[in-house]
Symmetry: C2
Subunit: 216 residues, 2 copies
Amino acid sequence: MKKIYGIGTGPGDPELLTLKAVRKINEADVIFAPNNKGKNIALDTASEFVKDKKIVFLDFPMGRVTEETYKENARIIESSVGEGEVGAFLTIGDPTYYSTFINMMKYFEKDSIVEIISGIPSFVGAAGRAFAPLAFTGEEFSVVDEIPLENPLADSLAILKTFKLEEKDLDRLEEFGFEYQYIKRASHPDEAILTDKKEILKEKDYISLILARRKK
Amino acid sequence: MKKIYGIGTGPGDPELLTLKAVRKINEADVIFAPNNKGKNIALDTASEFVKDKKIVFLDFPMGRVTEETYKENARIIESSVGEGEVGAFLTIGDPTYYSTFINMMKYFEKDSIVEIISGIPSFVGAAGRAFAPLAFTGEEFSVVDEIPLENPLADSLAILKTFKLEEKDLDRLEEFGFEYQYIKRASHPDEAILTDKKEILKEKDYISLILARRKK
């Protein structure tokens, strides 16, 4: 029997780890994290708790990830965790949206015990830092990984993966009637909140995002 | 100078408190929580950390909350926190959506230092427990506090405040082409995951929710 945890490490401030995430990381025999040139933000966030652990980096080459990639990495995880051992895959934010973990899940062996340990989503951390309400009573808020092509029904939007952002995308958001702010690395030491369009378009950071709200 | 923290306590498992939430609760001189007949789920979640604290319950009578209610409770918070002291308002999930805290925020005095401490949203906790992906790459997921009247654009929905749920709402969700599950008190000892429509309609729990996903 092997245990495999998918652990959300939150937006980046190590203090935004949950008590459960810390306990489960402590339990782990092997730590897994997506490889970003030998670095990883989730791993940095949890650095205090993983320093004496065996760490295995997994490759998810950006733009070239296929089902085979997920299958192969699930196999690497299971072959790196011995019988009776615990493996913990770390992911920024939470594992249930836009994460490699939810894509790998179906490839784990049936007799592995898989558990998801929730993390603070990046957009929730950003909303808190910017005092930006995501939803008041009766409102809909939506999370997307690019600015929609059609005017969304939502009153409020969290737009992730903004490193792909172009001027025409922000124009469209304005045409739809949204005000927006760019929250750069919420909860990190170099956090910044930008509202100037030109400034926003200069940024190409992976873990930054836009919070937009429909003007009344 | 007074400090006022709005702290998200997450879905209910005390271990899903963040390290920061625990530290900020420890710092607090006075703890505030919405009054539900002298009880409160956020307070229960944090019970281990608030037991020696002064606790003030605030009234937000369901269905009769007005701007005056928020203003009056903001005033009660500030008059209960002395100069140089810290007050912590606890809220289930996270303070930035459907919470009383985001409605009170604008009524705090300008010289009070207000900070939001993010919590795990109930829908994120529920998705983790149910292994229900909220969003894959390219998808939109939406959070609403009732089942929409029109077919939403989102691929995935988290529907909160399901205590108002009626059969016609679930019918509508099916007509829109969604599969759904009801997650009762995710992360609590009495957690349950229901998929049977009749069973779901028997439940009137405040902190339970529906996760729905568009059938492919």
